[in-house]
């Protein structure tokens, strides 16, 4: 069965967990006896039953009454299997919301009909757009609190549409619901006779699993090079996951940024029939006709196709989650594709705040802020524009030991004068020796 990751996000108390719980119950996706046991537990503790309790699997989560992490919930429609990521709404848990949302192919963004557009409704809308999630439906919950009024719904729709437009996000799907009562979740309700659009389940089934096709040129970030000599295997295998295009035996490949090149001799795999080619999303390995020494993290492309960009400086939209603000002239680590390098914040073009939008001349990017910035990396990095190739156009920034921010590449400042170099055997041998004796310096 086809599978899709969706995220459900929105401001705290706007009813995400209730929506998910109700969807699970109404589509009979709950394990046998789960609904009854949660109801029994509520009765025992003299608490009114709520659908949200179905999701509150963690003991301490129920105590606090808020969703702490992005739980994964499995759920089936007639058409496909969903993994619903229940992303928390509290601002302190924004990093969890982002972790959840970054795995998603589509999103439902919940807004409370009575409270209207809240700070996090804006922030989440912005983050979804930065994460590259283009399929977003806005679900207006708690319509019972505004007497299922079409006018209230239209006002809210107009307000949020205007906000989304400022982010360059277009969403024309707004669904009025009352999650607790199951209104417009899997069937249209008599309470909203004026609403003719899709139900929540219909919109989920309408989302597409494969989004806009990305570039077809072959790309593979080199994750590692293996040689298991101790086990009597002398294959030197260049391993990674193909992010774009496909590769076949006999293809000439170039590694960026080193510009080392060779020809694919074999596609390696375990417990499959012999492979002569491999395509996008496969985690593969290949051997080359000549032994070349390249670094983990280089990007492999075909000599016959358009190369990726190589640069030290680039502009990006980032969101910052670190406890310490992102500052200029401090060394951070960047991870992009499989590459790692030291990186410095060169300049801040503007800071985007969830509430007010756009502040210029900010000295730093504080926690939970988004910004448009320029980075300068110590090593040359192969990368692409996020708008052209998401997988090589997005990155994370590590501060100390933790991922403290994520971003997407919006502009690349390439240096000129790069050509494919002749192979230098001395350099190669030195590199091989260094790699052998200091393997962890090469990660």
């Amino acid at each position: 069965m086809e599978r899709m990751n969706i995220v459900i996000t929105g401001h705290v108390d706007h009813g995400k967990s209730t929506l998910i719980g109700r969807l699970l119950a109404d589509t009979h996706s709950l394990p046998q006896g789960k609904l009854e046991s949660v109801k029994a537990m509520c009765a025992k503790n003299a608490r009114p039953f709520e659908y949200a309790f179905l999701l509150d699997a963690l003991a301490d989560e129920q105590k606090q009454g808020i969703t702490i992490d992005s739980a994964r919930v499995f759920f089936n429609s007639k058409q496909r299997e969903y993994i619903i990521i229940d992303a928390p709404g509290h601002i302190e848990f924004l990093k969890n919301m982002i972790s959840g949302a970054s795995r998603a192919e589509a999103a439902l963004l919940l807004i409370d009909a009575k409270e209207g557009v809240a700070e996090n409704s804006k922030r989440h809308g912005m983050l979804l757009s930065m994460l590259g999630i283009k399929q977003v439906a806005i679900v207006v919950n708690k319509m019972d609190l505004v007497d299922f009024s079409e006018a209230s719904f239209e006002t809210l729709k107009a307000e949020y549409t205007e906000y989304l437009a400022t982010l360059g996000v277009k969403s024309d799907v707004f669904i009025p619901i009352a999650a607790r009562d199951g209104v417009n979740l899997i069937a249209h309700s008599e309470l909203t006779p004026w609403y003719k659009g899709p139900t929540v389940l219909e919109i989920l089934d309408n989302f597409k699993v494969t989004q806009n096709p990305e570039i077809a040129d072959f790309r593979m970030p080199l994750q590692d090079v293996y040689k298991f000599t101790a086990d009597g295997d002398d294959r030197r295998i260049y391993a990674g996951t193909i992010t774009n295009g496909e590769i076949s035996i006999g293809d000439d490949v170039v590694f960026y940024p080193s510009l080392k090149h060779s020809t694919v001799a074999s596609i390696e795999s375990f417990n499959t029939s012999v492979k002569s080619n491999a395509k996008v999303a496969e985690a593969i390995g290949f051997t080359l006709q000549t032994q070349i020494y390249v670094k983990n993290g280089e990007v492999v492309a075909k000599a016959s196709q358009k190369p990726p960009h190589v640069a030290h400086r680039f502009e990006a939209n980032i969101f910052w989650l670190g406890a310490k603000a992102l500052q200029k002239n401090k060394a951070y680590k960047i991870k992009i594709g499989s590459a790692k390098s030291t990186v410095y914040l060169e300049s801040i073009k503007r800071v985007i705040d969830g509430d007010t939008l756009d502040k210029a001349n900010e000295p730093e990017v504080a926690r939970h802020e988004a910004a448009s910035v320029v980075f300068r990396s110590h090593d040359a990095l192969a990368m692409e524009y996020f708008s052209e190739n998401q997988k090589l156009g997005r990155f994370v920034i590590v501060d100390g030991y933790d991922i403290a921010g994520g971003g997407i590449v919006t502009d690349i400042f390439e240096e000129s004068g790069q050509d494919i170099l002749p192979e230098e055997s001395f350099e190669d041998e030195l590199f091989m020796l260094l790699r052998k004796h200091f393997p962890h310096r090469f990660n």
Binding site: L30, R72, F270, A283
Partner: protein, 292 residues
């Protein structure tokens, strides 16, 4: 790509990420179907090789066939097997069979044994696949990265896990302070004294596991199948606390039928595990202390 190919590719990527980033890496092998699938995925990721040791915690109450199967596979697949055990608790008779409650027994024979085997403070028994011999290792180096076959669909607290999940020096896990994971970028930088659990099977379901076993013809332990008694194990553990279920399924294909349309549709996998049921949130409590 079908859904199994996608899951396989993602797990392979995670295993390679772990191998690249952790000099002292190990994988837990419980002999059960999930960690055996993980072992198979390791061979996929590394082209037939298993480049890190496999740690098995022997509570001394495992079903005997599990130990026989373990040693056979270790020999056949050239595995660096590392076995740990809480010898003191066993010697002192501090077990469920001797009258201790189930949760305390789990803590001593599994969580404590695991913790001290991983950090090297207790002796480990090591199998050398090249010589086919066992030797004892004292004061071994701590494993800083540990690959574990937990799945998000198994049970509540496991659905909160990150793919790369840090434990502090006390092996404790705090679900609410985990750093973010973005796209395919995981937390691979760590302060000294922390160790990390790596979960390549988080997105797999019980059904996916059986579909993959069927597709790849993975030699899974036969306790999972009805060998004529009308019973089989759905989940493996210690014999005093794990009960077989009534089932006619004799192979992976029949188990898949049973899970999708038969008697186990909508019935939780761990329903035969007694320790999950003692009080609310107990597995969560055990996991905070390092239980898998």
């Amino acid at each position: 790509m079908n859904h199994l190919e996608k899951l396989e590719a993602q797990s392979v990527y995670i295993l390679r990420e772990a191998y690249r980033n952790f000099p002292n890496l190990a994988m837990l092998w419980s002999i059960g179907k999930d960690s055996t699938v993980l072992l198979w995925l390791t061979r996929k990721a590394f082209f037939g090789h298993v480049p890190y040791p496999l740690v098995h915690i022997d509570t001394a109450f495992k079903i005997p066939e599990m130990i026989r199967y373990r040693d056979e596979i270790a020999k056949e697949w050239n595995l660096n097997l590392v076995v740990g055990q809480n010898k003191e608790a066993l010697a002192r008779g501090e077990t469920y069979v001797d009258g201790l409650d189930r949760l305390s027994c789990c803590k001593k024979l599994k969580s404590d044994a695991l913790k001290h085997t991983l950090d090297g403070t207790w002796a480990r028994r090591k199998y050398n696949p090249h010589l086919g011999t066992w030797e004892e290792e004292k004061n071994g180096e701590a494993y800083t990265g540990v690959i574990v076959g937990v799945r998000a669909d198994e049970e509540g607290s496991r659905s909160k896990e990150r793919v790369f999940s840090a434990r502090d020096e006390k092996s404790e896990w705090d679900a609410s302070t985990q750093p973010p994971e973005l796209w395919n970028q995981y937390k691979t930088d760590f302060a000294p004294q922390t160790h990390v659990r790596i979960h390549p099977l988080l997105e797999w379901t019980e059904l996916n596991i059986w579909e993959y076993i069927e597709q790849e013809k993975i030699p899974i332990i036969s306790l999972y199948f009805n060998n004529g008694s009308g019973k089989r194990y759905r989940s493996l553990g210690c014999f005093p606390c794990t009960a077989p279920v009534d089932s006619e399924a004799q192979n992976p294909a029949e188990i898949i039928t049973e899970l999708t349309s038969g008697k186990f549709k909508d019935i939780a996998e761990r329903s035969g595990r007694a320790q999950d049921k003692e009080g609310g949130g107990t597995l969560e409590a055990l996991r905070k202390e390092g239980y898998m």
